[in-house]
Symmetry: C2
Subunit: 228 residues, 2 copies
Amino acid sequence: MRELTIPESGPKRVLLNAAEQLFAKKGFEAVSVRDVTQFVKMNVAAVNYHFGSREGMLTLAIMHYTLPLNEERIARLESAERKTPGKPLALEEIIDAFVRPIITQNRKTELPEALFYQLLGRIFAANGDGLSQAYEENFRQLSDRFMRALGKALPTIPFDELASRFHFMSGGLIHLLTHRELLGKRAGSPMTMEAILGRFIRFAAAGLREGLAADASVKKGPQATFDF
Amino acid sequence: MRELTIPESGPKRVLLNAAEQLFAKKGFEAVSVRDVTQFVKMNVAAVNYHFGSREGMLTLAIMHYTLPLNEERIARLESAERKTPGKPLALEEIIDAFVRPIITQNRKTELPEALFYQLLGRIFAANGDGLSQAYEENFRQLSDRFMRALGKALPTIPFDELASRFHFMSGGLIHLLTHRELLGKRAGSPMTMEAILGRFIRFAAAGLREGLAADASVKKGPQATFDF
DNA sequence: GTCTATAAAGTGATAGAC
DNA sequence: GTCTATCACTTTATAGAC
């Protein structure tokens, strides 16, 4: 895994922090170099001096929190697997390993909580769009690793179908991160991420394991027909 | 407000069609007026002449297919409700009314299939970001209408929890639209949208009804009607 | 209605003074 | 390392010729 050389403090850290906040708020395309420097009252040339280019700054902003996050996801998954070697994990444990690091990593950031979640959501949503080659490879490996665990936990569900369900689940996660504010709307104040993820784990687990009780062998009938 | 005056043919239609394709491919922020006009070899000034501004063109592109789509969603939901008045709908019927119009509306468009789905996904994903005031109000009403139906179908699940699950489901739908190509990756060629939505309905229905008392014993009851 | 020309502002990047 | 000034473009929008 690549080393991210981001100083704990100093102008480079200040710039990156500003960039991350603005990217989270307005999206990657909508933030100019000048937006970032003016936000922290630094000079326009500082971005090119410290990051080489706008793209260098963007790449760093994408990897800064996601690489440690994905490392913790794998660590949690493998730690859970080590506890009961050979036995498949409970579905909820796998999903928990996938989503809980979002909360624990948030505690280590300098970003306001809401912006951190939104930044993550934007990064996940942009996956596959070629925003950062290195991050996409990192996520591909992560995804493979979790699909292996899911395959073991749900051996009777065709792997291909499981992949679709993992895809749907990922979409749900992205959406709750990018539009978290909509979730507490009826209750007045936004829900805590802890509460949201608790609900999400139950939702996703049920969706992933759908059809398990019934005969799994006959399950794969014609997929393309839903006329009634 | 709901009258969309878009001629069937002529320069305005050509421009809008080009804009929609480019928005779908590259995102709303990434497409300039010049990108659009050059794409169909028209003059730069044409956009401002026909739409007043870039924003006018964008607004029209957002509403053009989504307003008829949301109308069909409601029509299907109410048509299903009329068939068995008083009785709650099966969960799968509600979700089907929500997603199937995506396929039927696609048949009416001039856009390449893949681009139509991607355009829809981008519009849904941007909901709440203030891209088009009018569309957001339209979606809010749609969402309320479907939440009412879901509340009737799953009366024992707290409405607030149901709203969270509807939110997760919406995220899954957005993601399968914007990143459909990832779904057939292992199989070689991309899955048809019919097949994808068939899987999605089962996934989402299971997630929505999670924790029902009936879940353990008769969970497949209402599903017998549906042949996925 | 369609075009050219241009305004006015914004973009990333950089040379060179300090 | 920091800053100013500037280059070379691109952006939306529009005035006015045809």
